[in-house]
Symmetry: C2
Subunit: 238 residues, 2 copies
C-alpha cells in the first residue's frame, strides 16, 4: 500500500508550508511544483493540495479540496499528568496517547513531583509527528504546566473527573476506572508523579469533585498509568 504522508499546516489560508515542513517536502522528499500534498490543520480538516512554488526554504501550495473529518471518538479525552523527572517518558507518552486518542494534556505542578518546569515545544513536535503518522486530523492540545490547586479549581473541567493514586480510601473501596467511566461522556483523569500525589492533594481533589479510582492491581510507572488511563477513556468512547 502506498504510504500517504501528511503535512501539518495550522494555517492553510497562508498557502505556504511552515518552514520545517517545507524543508522536509522540498529538500528531503524532493517534491516539486505540481506534486500533490495532503495537509492537516490539526483542527479536524484535511486538505488536498498541489505545490505551486517550491524553493530551498519555502513551499507554496494551492488547495484543491477541503475534507472535514468525522471525529474518531465523540467525547473529549483529557489527561492531567504530573511530569516525570525524565522528560523522555512524557514524550513517549505523548506519542502513544496521540496514536490511541487524546484531546487535551494538562501538566500538573504537584507536591511530590521531581519536575516543576516543562518546556512544551518538544511535546508539541512529538504530538504533531504522531498525529501525522497516525493519520489523525486533530492535534491534542498541550497546556502549560500549572499548580495542582489551580488546576483542580478550574471551571472548564468535565463533570466526569477522576484522580488515580495508590492510597487506600478512608472508607469503602477505590473503584477500577474502567468500571465507573460513563460511556461517550467527556472525561478527565489525573495521574500523579513517581512519588504519587500527596494525601492533601488527594483530599483537595475529592473536595473539588474528583473521584478516586484505581487503574488495576498492577504497579505502573507514571507514564504507563497515564497511557492506561487514556486507553480506558478511549475504550469508553467506542
Amino acid at each position: 500500500m502506498k504510504e500517504i504522508r501528511y503535512f501539518y499546516v495550522p494555517d492553510p489560508d497562508s498557502g505556504e508550508l511552515p518552514a520545517d515542513e517545507a524543508q522536509h517536502a522540498v529538500r528531503v522528499l524532493r517534491l516539486g511544483v505540481g506534486a500533490e500534498l495532503v495537509l492537516v490543520d490539526g483542527c479536524g480538516t484535511l486538505y488536498d493540495a498541489v505545490i505551486s512554488d517550491a524553493g530551498n526554504h519555502h513551499c507554496r501550495f494551492t488547495i484543491t479540496q477541503a475534507r472535514p473529518q468525522q471525529p474518531e471518538w465523540q467525547a473529549a479525552i483529557h489527561l492531567a499528568l504530573a511530569p516525570t523527572k525524565n522528560m523522555d517518558r512524557v514524550e513517549w507518552f505523548m506519542e502513544k496517547a496521540t496514536e490511541i486518542g487524546l484531546d487535551r494534556l494538562s501538566l500538573l505542578d504537584s507536591q511530590f513531583a521531581e519536575r516543576h518546569v516543562v518546556k512544551t515545544d518538544r511535546l508539541e513536535r512529538v504530538a504533531v509527528a504522531a498525529m501525522k503518522q497516525s493519520h489523525k486530523a486533530w492535534k491534542p492540545t498541550i497546556e502549560p504546566i500549572e499548580p495542582f490547586r489551580h488546576f483542580i479549581a478550574r471551571a472548564d473541567l468535565p463533570a466526569q473527573r477522576f484522580i488515580a493514586h495508590c492510597y487506600e480510601p478512608a472508607e469503602g473501596d477505590k473503584p477500577f476506572l474502567g468500571d465507573v467511566l460513563r460511556r461517550s461522556e467527556p472525561a478527565l483523569v489525573m495521574i500523579g508523579p513517581e512519588g504519587d500525589f500527596s494525601v492533601d492533594e488527594v483530599r483537595a481533589a475529592e473536595s473539588a469533585g474528583f473521584r478516586s479510582v484505581s487503574l488495576g492491581t498492577s504497579r505502573l510507572r507514571t507514564e504507563t498509568a497515564a497511557l492506561v488511563a487514556v486507553h480506558l477513556m478511549r475504550l469508553a468512547n467506542r
Copy 2:
C-alpha cells in the same frame, strides 16, 4: 513510603546474587553483611534474605523466608510480535507490557518485516528491570525469533488466538479484539510489522485457527498495537 528494591535471583538455592545484582547491591547501594534483601526468582516466589558475605564482585545471602505469590491474573497472556526495525520500540514495549501484565513474548520472522534477527539478551534485561520495578514475581518468557509459519503451526498455542491486521475481511466484518476476548481464558494475539502481515500470512493464520481482529479505529504503530493488545488481554483477566 520506603521503596522496596527487588533483586533478581533465578536460582535462589545458589545462595549468591548474580554478578550484576551483586555489584549493584554492594558497590552502588553499599549494602553490607546483615542487610536485608528481597529476592525474586521470576517464577512466582519472593524471598526475604540477609546478606551473609559481601565483596566487590560477590554477595552471598541467607534466605529467612520464602513467600510464594498469588498471580495477579489467571489466564496466560501471550503476545507474538514481528519486531520493528528500531529495537528501541520493542524494548519500550517490553518494559510497558511487563508492567501491565504479560506471560510470554514470541518474536515472528514475518514476510514484510524490516528486521529478521533479534538478540533477546537486551529484552531480557528490560523485562527483569520492569519486573523488579513493578514488584512482580513472574518474569515474562521471551522466545527466540522464529519463522511465522513455524510459529502458527506450534502445538502449544492457546485455543483462543487472534491475528490483528489492517486488511478488510473477505466476508463479514473484523471484530474488535475487546469484544471477542473470552474472560479468564489463555489468549494469544499476533501483531504484524510496520508493513503489516502479508495477505498470505493472514490466510495461513486463519487456516491455523487464528481469528482476524481489529484493535479499534485508530492507526497504531506496531509497538503501540502490541501494547494495546496486551492491555485488552489484561482487562479480560480482571
